[in-house]
């Protein structure tokens, strides 16, 4: 059983591949019906008359797609202690049905925490890129991980 990832295993500049996922029209509509029912996310016919020219995924959908990849590949393999939110999330190029999204997590910085010797923090950036290597979604935030060697 491989050891869980700890704070010391993350290095600034590290790029972690998170895998790929293709969103279908049905998935885009199903997510948006529940969480973001604007017409250009739920109605393919009406979406053709929108500024986007066709159905596009909710920005939130791209966010949770990344989060699922990140939880599977990083958080559930790490001695994580959660985080407190996100610095920002930006939706760039719209995601359309059939787009293949590749997830990335980039470790921007790591730092000890000031008052808790057995945990450290890290700043990360997340990206989803489509099959044309265009940036579909970008986010940034901070997380906490257990230290293998507590600070003295």
């Amino acid at each position: 059983m491989p050891d869980l990832l700890h704070w010391e295993d993350f290095e600034p500049g590290q790029v972690i591949e998170l895998g790929e996922r293709t969103l279908t029209e049905a998935e885009i509509v199903e997510f948006a019906r529940e969480w973001d029912p604007q017409y250009f996310h739920v109605d393919p016919e009406a979406a053709k008359r929108s500024p986007y020219g066709g159905l596009i995924a909710s920005g939130w959908h791209t966010g949770v797609v990344w989060m699922r990849m990140y939880a599977d590949r990083v958080l559930n393999r790490a001695a994580g202690l959660g985080g407190g939110g996100l610095h920002e999330i930006r939706w760039h190029v719209p995601t359309r049905p059939g787009d293949r999204l590749r997830g990335l997590a980039l470790v921007v910085e790591t730092a000890p925490t000031s008052r808790t010797p057995n945990r450290g923090k890290f700043m990360f950036r997340g990206e989803l890129r489509n099959q044309r290597d265009e940036l579909a979604m970008q986010l940034s935030g901070m997380g906490f991980l257990r230290r293998r060697h507590p600070a003295t």
């Binding site: 973001d36 920005g59 966010g63 599977d72 958080l75 939110g85 920002e88």
Partner: protein, 149 residues
């Protein structure tokens, strides 16, 4: 679906209530199983050992709960044209099954588009409060809304 609200109707300082929603345990687990499968969002026993001490909703679900309220209460009544994203997303208290969440919208600033004279930007803060009237989630964002004139 009417689109009676235009950019001019959004006034800095205005605050509005967006309604309420209570998440059930099954909704919390179903959302987390699909989008944020960390053990403390899925199972009471694991959650007892986790950072919150009890089962809590994914932070992403609190964002989308508010987003849904915003679409129903505002965006789908407005000539809305999407937006670039959100900033300063904060999770201040864990959301547990049965917590009643109240959505609030505050308009922070509005400005006309520098590139397109048919639209403007609305910069807002969204919050979810619990029954103790404490903020569980807050975030800021921008949307583009068509101008009336």
């Amino acid at each position: 679906m009417t689109q009676e609200l235009h950019w001019e109707d959004f006034v800095p300082g205005a605050r509005s209530e967006l309604g309420e929603r209570t998440l059930t345990r099954d909704e919390i687990v179903a959302f987390a199983a699909e989008w944020d499968p960390q053990p403390f969002h899925l199972d009471e026993a694991a959650a007892a050992e986790g950072p919150f001490g009890e089962l809590a909703a994914s932070g992403w679900q609190t964002y989308t709960v508010w987003a849904r309220m915003f679409v129903d209460g505002v965006l789908n009544r407005a000539a809305a044209m999407g937006g670039p994203g959100m900033e300063d997303l904060r999770l201040l208290k864990p959301v547990r099954p049965g917590d009643r969440l109240r959505g609030v919208l505050e308009i922070l600033e509005t400005w006309p588009s520098s590139k397109r004279d048919d639209r403007g930007t609305v910069f807002f803060e969204g919050r979810l409060l619990d029954d103790a009237d404490e903020v569980v989630m807050t975030m800021r964002g921008r949307v583009f809304i068509r101008r009336r004139g």
